[in-house]
Each structure stands twice: as structure tokens, then as C-alpha cells.
Symmetry: C2
Subunit: 201 residues, 2 copies
């Protein structure tokens, strides 16, 4: 039997991560899996592995703009490509690390931040915008932003990023079921097959 525990490495700045994130609660319900939301820094992953964002290739960027809309349609979720892209996500990711140290609902703040960026187009490089999202999610924005500047939150984000790379990650979203890695929103069906014991590798 496969251990029904999924580690979900995510960065609010990644569009395919947003799409996958919108599906995780339903996937967890269907499979009985527990999803652990692990913030990391996609820029750090790219730097460590030599990978680059897909939009770096002009033909791929043009295709992606349409492809993302198609996924959003097929999932029935909002999506508007933000004016500010790429966006510096390090502060938002540190805030989530800080919130998790004091944590309650693991998906609430990540999903709220992704919605703010990928549906509403907020610039989450700005502390004020992050504060607004935290408050709307009934979290103490001032405390979280202060904690995000402390070594513990900074270090946690670095540790998560380094660990993901060490385990094989090169992009986002990246999922692990034990040592088995799945990369990409488009691999959710394979992740689900794994959780349902229908894959041997």
C-alpha cells in the first residue's frame, strides 16, 4: 500500500502551481491522502538546477498564455495572467513559512495568496498587498510580516528549497509521495494513480 501522504512544493509565482493548487483539496478527498503544503522558492530551484522558466522561450511563452486559460476553463477556476510577471515571491513565501510555524489550516493562506496573484493580479512583492491577503484570511498580518523577517522563516524557506532540489526537483509544482516525485499540474492524474496503488514506479 502506498503511504497516502503528499508533499506539495509550491511557489505563489508559478502559474501551473496555482492551477494544481486549486485541485489539491478535491484530490485529497478522493484519495484519502493528506497533503503537506511546503513553500519553496522556484527561483532558487532554477538557480540550483540550471533550469529556467518555460516562458523564457518566446514560442513557448505564446503557447503557455493559451494553455493556462484552457486548464483554468477545464478546472472551472479563475485565471488572469498578471501584469507583473515574473514576480518576486520571496516575502510571500517567507510569510507562509512563518504562518506554518504557528499553523492551522495549511491550504488557506497559500490558496488566498495564489488567488490574489493569479485571479486578482495583486503584486505580492509588496508587503501591503500580502498584509491585505493575510487579513482577509483572518490572520495577524503584522505579526506574520514581522516573523517573515526573522531567521527562522528565512531559514525554513531555504531548507525547503534545498531539500526539494536534493530530492530531484527542478520546477514547480513538485509533489512527493515518499521518494516518488511528480512534476507539473499535468501530472496530477499520475499522482492520483500512484495514491490509488495503480503505478509501480
Amino acid at each position: 500500500m502506498t503511504d497516502k501522504h503528499v508533499e506539495f512544493f509550491w511557489d505563489v509565482a508559478s502559474p501551473y502551481t496555482y492551477l494544481a493548487a486549486t485541485q489539491m483539496d478535491a484530490l485529497a478527498q478522493r484519495t484519502g491522502a493528506v497533503v503537506q503544503w511546503r513553500p519553496f522558492l522556484l527561483g532558487g530551484v532554477f538557480k540550483a538546477t540550471g533550469n529556467q522558466m518555460p516562458a523564457a522561450l518566446p514560442a513557448k511563452a505564446r503557447y503557455m498564455a493559451v494553455d493556462l486559460q484552457r486548464w483554468a476553463q477545464s478546472y472551472g477556476v479563475g485565471f488572469h495572467f498578471p501584469k507583473i510577471f515574473p514576480m518576486r515571491s520571496v516575502l510571500a513565501q517567507r510569510v507562509v513559512c512563518a504562518a506554518q510555524a504557528a499553523a492551522d489550516t495549511p491550504s488557506r493562506l497559500p490558496l488566498a495568496l495564489m488567488h490574489a496573484y493569479w485571479v486578482e493580479g495583486c503584486d505580492l512583492a509588496q508587503p501591503d498587498e500580502i498584509a491585505r491577503v493575510c487579513e482577509a484570511a483572518a490572520l495577524d498580518a503584522d505579526a506574520l510580516l514581522a516573523a517573515a523577517g526573522q531567521p527562522q522563516a528565512k531559514s525554513q524557506l531555504q531548507v525547503n528549497t534545498a531539500e526539494a532540489v536534493q530530492r530531484g526537483a527542478f520546477g514547480a509544482p513538485t509533489f512527493f509521495v515518499g521518494t516518488r516525485m511528480f512534476w507539473g499540474n499535468d501530472r496530477l492524474p499520475l499522482l492520483e494513480a500512484c495514491l490509488n496503488d495503480r503505478l509501480s514506479v
Copy 2:
């Protein structure tokens, strides 16, 4: 109503193209679509767009080796990563262009060549291996190999490749439904949604 005509640009040397190819007859049956198999040269697409094969990144290559096995399992098709990879596919693709000029069943020779490479591990850069596959598919191998060396087949392959790039392709497999492009084996569900009039973009 979406025009149920799919142009499928494929290169025998691409593993995700092989996986997608194994699904096309069933997809055509389910949707009522007609699939036009259009050989192109992935190397030429990469050169024209600045893209490179995913396996060029070491971390991605390691993941791909597992990912391909998972797709093959989920499709229930054979798959063994060939010893010879990447493989020079230009002659095989020209032979298919020649066969199409005299054509009958459009998927028979492409599928036979892909099976020879991705299941049996044959080196299709060798004319003898291509000849063996043609003969097993009840085609005149000598005539096809001779025609593959003629300007018509060479030119057809160049034209297909240049047209795909001009229309937006940067990898393989690439599908078009009119002007709507879909890239990758993992986009077959979106291609099918498009054929079933469930996508507006």
C-alpha cells in the same frame, strides 16, 4: 462546432510522441475526429525555435526516465528507453513522407516505426532496420528507401517542419485543430475537450 480534423506533427525520435501516438486511434474513435499524421523533424524545430530536448537538463532527464514508464503503465503500452538516444530520425521521417505520397493507412507505418524504436530498441538511423519495419508492415522497403532519397520526400519533410514552426510549434508531439495548437502527450485531454467543443480557446 469545432472542425474535427487533427493535424498530428510527430517525430519517431521523441518519446512523448510515441506515447501520444499509441492513443490517437482511440481518441479518433471516441471523438469522431480524423487524424492527419504529419511527419516533421524535431531537431529542425529545436534549431528554429531555440528550444532543446528536455533531457538536456540532468535533473529533468532523471525524472523523465521514470515519468515515461508511468505513462506507459497508465496507457498499458510497452516502453523501453532505447540504448541509442538521441537517434538520428531524418531517414525514417523521409521514408514516411515517401510512403504517404503513395499512401494507404496513415498510422500504420508511423506506429510500426515507433514500436520498433520505443519498444524493440531498433536503431532507425540504419536503412536496414527501416527496411525490416517496412517489410513487416507489408510495404515495399526498397521502393520507399529509394523514394526517401529523392527531392520530393526531402522537401516534404522540410515543408512540414517549417510549417509547424511557422504556426507556433516548438516541440513534439504538436497537434493542431485549425489554428489551435496543443503540445505534448499530456495535453491529449485538452485536445479531446477541444474536439468535444468544451474549450473556447
